[in-house]
Each structure stands twice: as structure tokens, then as C-alpha cells.
Amino acid sequence: MSTVKPNYTRALDIKNGRVDMSHGSGGRAMAQLITELFAVAFDNEYLAQGNDGALLPSASGRLVMATDSHVVSPLFFAGGDIGCLSVHGTINDVAVMGATPLYLSAGFILEEGFPLADLKRIVESMAKASREAGVPVVTGDTKVVEQGKGDGVFITTTGVGVLREGVHLSGDLARPGDKILLSGTIGDHGMAILSQREGLTFSAPIVSDTAALHGLIAAMLDSGAKLRVLRDPTRGGLATTLNEIAKQSGVGMMLQESAIKVNQPVEAACEFLGLDPLYVANEGKLIAICAPEDAPRLLEVMRAHPLGAAASVIGEVLEDAHGFVQMTTKLGGRRVVDWLAGEQLPRIC
């Protein structure tokens, strides 16, 4: 008679272990990884169902769904990591539609040889971000690719939310005369990544702004201001996002450079590397376009929220058949703020 306890498996060696091909093969090793790592971290009643999909209660209202893949390099950076970034990014995509985010799914592509300790750190960071946001990860998937065919870990998250009653936000709703508001400084995330990658050190470290914006957005929607467009200026930065809106709405824009805030270390790093912060990615900022009469009220609500404390009105929507986004420079001249050509920084989110 064996003395081994029934159903006994040796616990995962998180400290020294590494991802191997068996962790994606569907067998015991994969089940163990899921149970001991993912299920423990994300712990919620839907994930606990343990089925191929999560069975969710019915929601009243129209649904919003968004997905986002994350391939950031390095995986850990000042102010965050790929884990919390993958939660914030998708929550923000759902929230800027005017929806309350409810659930997330997470797909992991792991590279053979990836340290389990790093994976644990990432998963726990994700779980913390999801708990803080009140949006559980209810289903997921894990695949393993051979060494050299991935870059540690890639994470795809999908979010589902329910649209708030009476809210209609869309990139094609900006009208001439509308005001353009920005929730804070620009370029923090992109420069945090780049300065770490290039080994640049500044007297004050550059910290990513990665954050979930649904709380700020809820406050903005509650204010009753006539919001037309909400967007989070991620890849391509503020300039690219404004150009997208201008194109969708068939309008032009005039920005005031003096109203656009850039943290000093970010500005210094941009100067140093010859980059324009207007094109550098953000992960915790939003652009709001609203009716001109509501701008003061909206600005007040934004500034009252910690994630909008540095909000400002940065410009105005204009009638312009060419769809140019222009800017009055601090020097007093004018310039076009064009689409990003080529790639300013690779693999930032």
C-alpha cells in the first residue's frame, strides 16, 4: 500500500521554476499552473466555476466589448508592469465608450524558459489592478511557445461593460466650437519605458502613468456635461489620437501648446532623445471633447478626481475641410500637429 496521499502533487517551484512546454499542453502541469497561480491570484466566483467559459449574470443595457494585446518590453518598468498595464488598458478602452466595465478575460502567451517567479509577479500585479478597479478576470487561457518564439510573456485582455443609459460617445461627434480637455501630463508612459530601455537615468525617475480611468470617467458622466468624445491617447500619443478624432468628425482643431503639460523629466528625456512628447504614449490619460458651455463644469469635476488633478482645456474644435490639427506654439507661431509617420518608439504597450 502506497503511503503517498491520494491526489498529491508537488507544489509548483515558483522560486526557481521555469515555464516549460508542458505548462501549455493541457495536461496536469497546465492544470497545476492554473490552479496554483492564476486561480489563487484572480480568485472570483466566475473563474471558480472551472469551465471552458464563464457563465455571467444578465446585464441590462447595451454591451461594450474591447480587446487589447500587450507586448511591452521591458516587462517591468517604473510605475508598473505588463500585468497591471493589461488590466488598465482594456478597462480604459471600455470606459471611454461611456460604459461601466464589468468583466475581463486574459490570454497569456508564455515563452518556454520564462521564470515562474516573474510570472507570479505579473499575475499578482494584474490581480491587484483588477481588484482595485472592481473588474474581475473571469476567464482565461494559457499557451506556451518554444524558446525564442516569444519575448517572455504576451498578454491579451478583453473587457465587457454595459453602456450607461443615455450616453452616446463617438469619435465622429466633435463639432466646431467644442472644447478639448486633457486629463493631465503627457508622455509619461512612453518615456518611462524608453528611459529604462536605453538605461537613461535622470535625477527624478520617469514613472509610467498607467491607471484605470473608469472612476474618473464615471464622475465626468455624472456631471451631466454634454460629452461628445472620450479617448485615451495611448500609442501615437496625444497628436495621433486628436488626428483620429478630427478625421472621424470631419473637423479641424487648434491647440494651445502652453496648455499642454509635460512633466519636467519627461520633457528633458524627450529633448535628449529628439522626441516630441505629443507623440509619446500615455496609459492613464484621457481626452474629452465637450460642448463649449459645459467645459468649465467638466474641468472642475476632472480636477476634483486624483487622476484628473492636472486637467486643462487644451484647445478647440474648428471647422476645417482639410481636418488639420494645428497648434499655436509657445513661441507664438503656428504649426500642424500631424499624424505620426513611421514608428517613434517600438513595443511600448
Partner: protein, 370 residues
């Protein structure tokens, strides 16, 4: 931000702008060429044209290293990467310059060539050290500013005995290009030059003296900040008004008459003049570029891999040549903004943000619609 905001101050800009407007003679035109792409970029990015009276016009010169690289030179690099299986390293914008067969270094990379973007010649050396089994070639481009770091890398490689490292030398010289612009028969429609900033920190202000003495053109060396450029424009307007032609230095915080002697010595030790070099836009210009001295021949990729330079004519519709000489404006080119855009550049002036066409496209094209 300290040391930056002071040079971008809107109030000071307004003062200089008022002075330029007051001192510029409304009866005449001031056609001023900024030689450097860095100045072109500053003028466009800060909207300096809006602060100048309509009779003071800036003409964008050929001082963008990526823009003056002829197709044949990029072809050479692509051949090295594709046919000789080298790791080809170069500065970022260079990888987008259009070459023959609808290729660029970036497209060659997508087809499997090992092309790497680097920030510094030290990165290229590191790649060579880390890959002893591979040949590593640094495509060395640029004016006098980027030449000293290349010289350092070559000397280091020689000292270390790094046998798998070599350079494809496309370093060019500013004064030679200015001569080529001015030596046109019948003269050129340029009343003065905003002289280079970074280049002048290396070569000093002395090499520009012939342009004032022999050609009678005022030169004001200026920094790359917008107030530097505006102050230089005011100084040029004053010289033109006085009928003077002198080399003046606005950028005294960084430029002396003699320049950086240590860098000059270093460059002279490693490089010598090429008899002739073909520039995009300016054609073949004698004594306008550098090659490695025989002492460093082992690091010359042209000799090592026997890749000869083959001249290739520019696209017929492309006006880069006339634009680089200041004879045409970007918007006067038929394919500007239609066939040729920063996403799909046909001519090299559309590649780098310092190129006249890309700068105008990205920052200034609303002016044509006004």
C-alpha cells in the same frame, strides 16, 4: 525647463519679431538660407514663419545628412546587408531612405537582411564584439558633427583588433556643399546664410569666411533653439541693410572661431578627402566628403567587400535636387503630399523630419490652404 524655456520664450520672440519687421526694408526681399536641417526643423516646429514679415523668406538648404545621401549610396549598404550577409548598423532615419528596386534598408530588413538601428557608434562596436562570427558594418553618415564619433570608433576597433568591424563612409563636408550652392554661374538668389549650429561647434566659424569675403554673402552662425534662429535672422537683415558681408556668431555659447581642435585632429588622423562625392541634389562635388586613410583601410567596407558605388538617377518627378539647392519650395514639387508623403517618401527630403519636404508636410502645410 531650465536652459530650454529661456530659448523658446514667446515674449522675447515677439520682441525680435517686432525688430525684424521694423528693420526689414519693405522695398526689398530677404532670401535667407538656413543650411542645416536642424534649423529647418526648428523653423517649422515653432512656426517661425508666422513671426516674419512676408518679404523675409527662409529657404531650406541641404544640411540634412539623410537627404543628401544619393540612391546609389543606400544601394551599396543594402547590397552589403543582402549579398554579404553583414549586420548593417546605422542611425535611425537612414533606414527609411528610398533606394533602387523599391527598397530601403527598412524594407531590406523585412526581407531578411540584418539591419539594426543604433544611437551611437559605440553600439555598433558592441554588436561587433558580441558577434565575433559575423561581419558588422556601420553605415557612417552625416556632416562634421557625426564624423568625430566615427573616428573614435575606428580608432577603438583598431586598438582592440576588432577584425569584424568596418564602416561604409558617407561623411560629407558643409563648406564644400555651400561652395557648390554658391558657385552657380550667374549667382544664386540667396542674400545670406543662417550658419550651422552643431557643425560649427566642431569646425568653428573660420571655414565660412570665404563665403563672406569671396561671395559677398553674410553668414550668421546660430543655435538650434527658435530664439537663436530669430536673432540670427535679425542679424542677417541688419547686414543686408548695411551692405555688409561678414561671418557673425550668434551661437557664442558653443561656437568659437577655431572650433573643437581635438575633434578636428582626430578626424584628420583617421580620414582624408575623397576626390569627388555625389550628393543628392548637388551632383558630384569635388573634395566634399571623407574616406578612411590608407592606415585604416582594413576598416573600409568599400574595400573589404569590394562594393563599388554605382550612381543611380533620382525619380524623374522628384524635385529634391532643386529643393536642396533652394531653387524650389517643397509645395512646388508635383508629387509633394500626394505620391510623396512621410509614410511613402519618394525623395529623400521627405524622409527625415529635418528634410525640407517632411518638415513642411508635417508642420506647415496648412499655409497653402489659407
Amino acid at each position: 525647463m531650465k536652459y530650454v524655456d529661456e530659448f523658446r520664450d514667446g515674449e522675447l520672440a515677439k520682441n525680435i519679431s517686432t525688430n525684424i519687421a521694423r528693420e526689414a526694408d519693405p522695398e526689398r526681399n530677404y532670401r535667407l538660407m538656413e543650411f542645416c536641417g536642424g534649423h529647418t526643423h526648428a523653423i517649422s516646429r515653432y512656426g517661425i514663419a508666422d513671426l516674419l514679415p512676408s518679404n523675409v523668406r527662409m529657404i531650406h538648404g541641404p544640411g540634412c545628412p539623410v537627404c543628401v545621401l544619393p540612391i546609389g549610396r543606400v544601394d551599396q549598404a543594402i547590397r552589403l546587408a543582402r549579398e554579404h550577409n553583414v549586420i548593417l548598423c546605422t542611425y535611425a532615419d537612414t533606414v527609411r531612405v528610398p533606394a533602387s528596386d523599391n527598397l530601403s534598408l527598412m524594407r531590406a530588413k523585412a526581407k531578411g537582411a540584418d539591419v539594426r538601428m543604433i544611437y551611437s557608434t559605440q553600439d555598433a562596436l558592441k554588436i561587433a564584439r558580441d558577434n565575433p562570427g559575423r561581419e558588422v558594418v556601420f553605415l557612417a553618415i552625416g556632416f562634421e558633427t557625426t564624423t568625430p564619433p566615427t573616428a573614435v570608433a575606428v580608432k577603438q576597433a583598431a586598438a582592440e583588433g576588432l577584425k569584424n568591424f568596418s564602416i561604409l563612409c558617407d561623411h560629407v563636408l558643409t563648406p564644400a556643399a555651400m561652395h557648390a550652392i554658391l558657385a552657380v554661374e550667374g549667382g544664386v538668389a540667396i542674400d545670406g546664410f543662417v550658419g550651422p549650429a552643431h557643425v560649427s561647434t566642431v569646425i568653428g566659424s573660420k571655414p565660412y569666411e570665404p563665403f563672406a569675403d569671396d561671395y559677398g554673402k553674410p553668414v550668421v552662425i546660430a543655435g538650434f533653439e527658435p530664439l537663436d534662429v530669430m536673432q540670427a535672422i535679425l542679424m542677417l537683415v541688419r547686414q543686408v541693410n548695411d551692405g555688409r558681408a561678414a561671418v557673425e556668431n550668434e551661437f557664442t555659447r558653443a561656437v568659437t572661431r577655431e572650433g573643437n581642435l581635438k575633434a578636428q585632429e582626430l578626424v584628420a588622423e583617421v580620414f582624408e578627402l575623397r576626390d569627388v562625392f555625389e550628393w543628392r541634389g548637388l551632383g558630384s562635388v569635388p573634395n566634399s566628403a571623407l574616406k578612411l586613410r590608407p592606415k585604416y583601410a582594413a576598416f573600409d567596407a568599400e574595400l573589404k567587400f569590394k562594393v563599388d558605388y554605382v550612381a543611380v538617377p533620382d525619380n524623374k518627378a522628384c524635385e529634391c535636387a532643386a529643393i536642396l539647392r533652394g531653387q524650389k519650395r517643397p509645395q512646388e514639387c508635383k508629387i509633394f503630399g500626394t505620391v510623396c508623403t512621410p509614410e511613402n517618401p519618394v525623395g529623400s527630403c521627405m524622409v527625415s523630419s529635418e528634410g525640407a519636404c517632411a518638415a513642411h508636410y508635417s508642420y506647415g502645410r496648412f499655409r497653402e490652404t489659407a
